[in-house]
C-alpha cells in the first residue's frame, strides 16, 4: 500500500517540476520520470503488460520530445499568459478539483474492484472462461485481440492516422500550381 503512495507522490513532484521549470530539456526529462514512475506503479498494480508497454512507449516518446526541443530551447519562454485569463482558469480548475474530490467517495474502495461486486460483469467472464474460449493464457491479450479486437483495429487506425498526419505536416513543399506534377 505504502509503495503506491510513495510512487504517486514521486510522480506528482515530477509533474510539478515538469510544469514549473523554465528549461524545456529538464521539463522533458521530468516527463520521463513521471512515465517511469507510472510504469513501476503498473508493475505493482499487477499489470505487467501495461508496464512493458508504458516503459517502451516512454522511451520512444522521450526521443520524440527531445528531438523537438533539442537546440530549440534557447529562447526561454517564461511567465504565463495574461493575468485575468490565468486567474479565471485557475479558479475553474480548482472548482473542478473540489468537485472531483466528492466523486471518489462513490467509487468502490481501492483494492475492491467493481467487477467482483456486479453480478454479470464482463471481466468476471473473461477471468473464468477467457482461457477456454480463446485459448490464450494471457487474458489481456485475449481481451485486446479477441473479445475487444474491434477496439484494437481502431487503435491501429489511430496510429496509422497519426503517422500519415505527421508525414503530411512535415513535408517540404505543400502547395503547387494545378498543372505542376506531384513530385
Amino acid at each position: 500500500m505504502a509503495v503506491f503512495y510513495i510512487l504517486l507522490l514521486f510522480m506528482i513532484i515530477a509533474a510539478i517540476i515538469a510544469v514549473e521549470t523554465d528549461n524545456l530539456l529538464s521539463s522533458v526529462i521530468c516527463v520521463g520520470a513521471i512515465g517511469f514512475g507510472g510504469s513501476l506503479i503498473f508493475l505493482f498494480l499487477r499489470a505487467p503488460d501495461i508496464a512493458i508497454t508504458q516503459i517502451v512507449v516512454e522511451v520512444l516518446g522521450l526521443i520524440i520530445l527531445i528531438r523537438a526541443t533539442i537546440s530549440r530551447d534557447r529562447t526561454f519562454i517564461t511567465g504565463d499568459r495574461e493575468f485575468f485569463g490565468m486567474v479565471v482558469s485557475v479558479v475553474i480548475i480548482f472548482v473542478i478539483f473540489l468537485a472531483g474530490m466528492k466523486v471518489f467517495e462513490t467509487l468502490p474502495a481501492f483494492g475492491t474492484p467493481i467487477f467482483a461486486t456486479v453480478g454479470d460483469s464482463a471481466s468476471q467472464a473473461y477471468i473464468t472462461e477467457g482461457m477456454q474460449k480463446t485459448g490464450a493464457a494471457n487474458l489481456v491479450a485475449s481481451v485486446i485481440l479477441d473479445f475487444r479486437a474491434y477496439d484494437t483495429l481502431g487503435e491501429a487506425a489511430v496510429l496509422f492516422t497519426s503517422i500519415i498526419g505527421a508525414t503530411v505536416i512535415l513535408r517540404k513543399k505543400a502547395k503547387k500550381l494545378p498543372e505542376e506534377p506531384d513530385q
Binding site: 512493458i52 517502451v56 522511451v59 520512444l60 493464457a137 487506425a157 508525414t167
Partner: protein, 159 residues
C-alpha cells in the same frame, strides 16, 4: 548528424541484434506472457532508432528506407484488417471471429503452445509489424525535419 564515437557504434551494433530478437520474442509470445504486438513493435522500432542515433540518419535510412517502411506500415495494417475480414468467410456474422480457435483448435489439448489461441498470434504479428514500421517512420521524418534546421530562419515559401 554524423553519428557517435567508435565505442558507441560497436556496442550498439551488437545490442541492436539483441533488442531486435527480444522484440520478436515479445511479439511471438504475446498471448502467453506479458507483452504483445504493441510492446514488441515499439521494441523493434527502438532497435532501429538506436542504430539511427549511433550511426546517423543516413545509415539507418540505408538499412530501412522510408518508402519501404511506409509500405511495411500499410502491409501490417492490411494484414490485421485481413485477419478481421477472414472471419467473414464463415458467414456474415463473423467479423473478427476467432475462426482458427473456434473451428479447429477448440477442445484439443494444446494450452501454452505457440500455436494456441487461433488468430491472436497472427494479429500480434501484424500489429507488431505495423507499430514498428510506423514509429520508426515518425522518428525518421522528425529527424529529417531537424536536419537542415537553423533557428530563426523561416523559409521564404510563397504562400
Amino acid at each position: 548528424m554524423k553519428g557517435m564515437t567508435i565505442i558507441v557504434k560497436t556496442i550498439s551494433s551488437w545490442v541492436k541484434v539483441l533488442i531486435f530478437l527480444f522484440g520478436i520474442y515479445i511479439i511471438l509470445f504475446g498471448h502467453l506472457t506479458p507483452g504483445g504486438g504493441f510492446a514488441g513493435g515499439v521494441i523493434l522500432a527502438s532497435s532501429y532508432v538506436l542504430l539511427m542515433l549511433a550511426f546517423g540518419r543516413e545509415f539507418a535510412e540505408k538499412t530501412l528506407s522510408v518508402p519501404f517502411a511506409s509500405k511495411l506500415d500499410c502491409v501490417g495494417a492490411l494484414l490485421f484488417a485481413a485477419v478481421a475480414l477472414c472471419g467473414l468467410l464463415y458467414g456474415a456474422a463473423g467479423f473478427f471471429w476467432n475462426f482458427i480457435h473456434q473451428k479447429y483448435l477448440m477442445g484439443t489439448d494444446y494450452e501454452f503452445n505457440l500455436v494456441s489461441a487461433g488468430t491472436i498470434p497472427l494479429s500480434n504479428i501484424a500489429i507488431g509489424l505495423k507499430v514498428g514500421a510506423s514509429l520508426f517512420l515518425v522518428i525518421l521524418t522528425l529527424s529529417m525535419c531537424c536536419k537542415d534546421f537553423k533557428p530563426g530562419s523561416t523559409e521564404n515559401e510563397k504562400e
